[in-house]
């Protein structure tokens, strides 16, 4: 079974703090993603990475950065947390379509989420 783990289930931080959210997957997936989920807004893509040290902006990258130094680990960084970044953060991973181990199209496997509250 694919397993995607996130470092914390619940996190409370203060405005202006630097926040690190960690995600680890154990299936050797090339792709990793960070989303945030807010009521009425669904899942919105913040950043994703298709290889080590590679990243691409999603739909709402402002206020966030990411780091991928190892294939299995993808970190989301809030350089200076603000109250409007209070949200559920979800990490996901998938194979690259067509590569060995993947099908033509690949589903994304999600972690359990981190509920971040910024005070």
């Amino acid at each position: 079974d694919v397993k995607v783990t996130q470092s914390s289930r619940y996190l409370v931080k203060r405005t202006g703090e630097k926040v690190f959210l960690e995600c680890v997957q154990d299936m050797d997936h090339e792709n990793m993603f960070w989303y945030r989920q807010d009521p009425g807004l669904g899942l919105r893509l913040i950043y994703f990475s298709y290889d080590v040290k590679m990243k691409e902006k999603g739909d709402i990258p402002e206020g966030y950065s990411v780091s991928r130094e190892k294939k299995e680990r993808f970190s989301l960084i809030l350089e200076s947390a603000s109250t409007n970044q209070t949200s559920m953060y979800l990490c996901a991973s998938s194979f690259i379509p067509g590569l060995a181990g993947g099908g033509i199209y690949n589903e994304q496997f999600f972690g359990p989420g981190t509920r971040l509250t910024v005070l």
């Binding site: 995607v4 792709n31 993603f33 893509l45 199209y105 589903e107 999600f110």
Partner: protein
């Protein structure tokens, strides 16, 4: 501009009846669609998918229908069970400017199945 739309924020059905969740999309380049199910305080889990070369895909109680001309897909759950109560997200596979693949999600529909 929302490319994947789930216009019903919520749906309530009786146990044993059919649940029909709808999804519309605007980008005709989308060619693969997925449904995810999410319980509170958990990550979404993959439920069922469909390629644009098909118009129907079935897996047990779950069936997804795709109408390409209408840019519409629906998820049918028959019979509905209380454990199906969750938020359901529709997603479409898209290629980014950089040539990578990402999913575009709808806002979700909260399904409640009443005993």
């Amino acid at each position: 501009d929302q490319q994947v739309k789930q216009n019903s924020p919520s749906l309530s059905v009786q146990e044993g009846r059919i649940s029909i969740l709808n999804c519309d999309y605007t980008n005709s380049m989308f060619d693969y669609f997925l449904w995810y199910k999410k319980y509170p305080a958990e990550g979404p889990t993959f439920l069922i998918s469909i390629s644009s070369i098909k118009d129907k895909n079935e897996d047990g109680r779950f069936t997804v229908f795709l109408n390409k001309s209408a840019k519409h897909l629906s998820l049918h759950i028959v019979p509905s069970q209380p454990g199906d109560s969750a938020v359901y997200f529709c997603a479409a596979s898209a290629i980014t400017e950089g040539g990578s693949e990402k999913l575009v999600f709808g806002k979700g529909t909260k399904l409640t199945v009443n005993p």
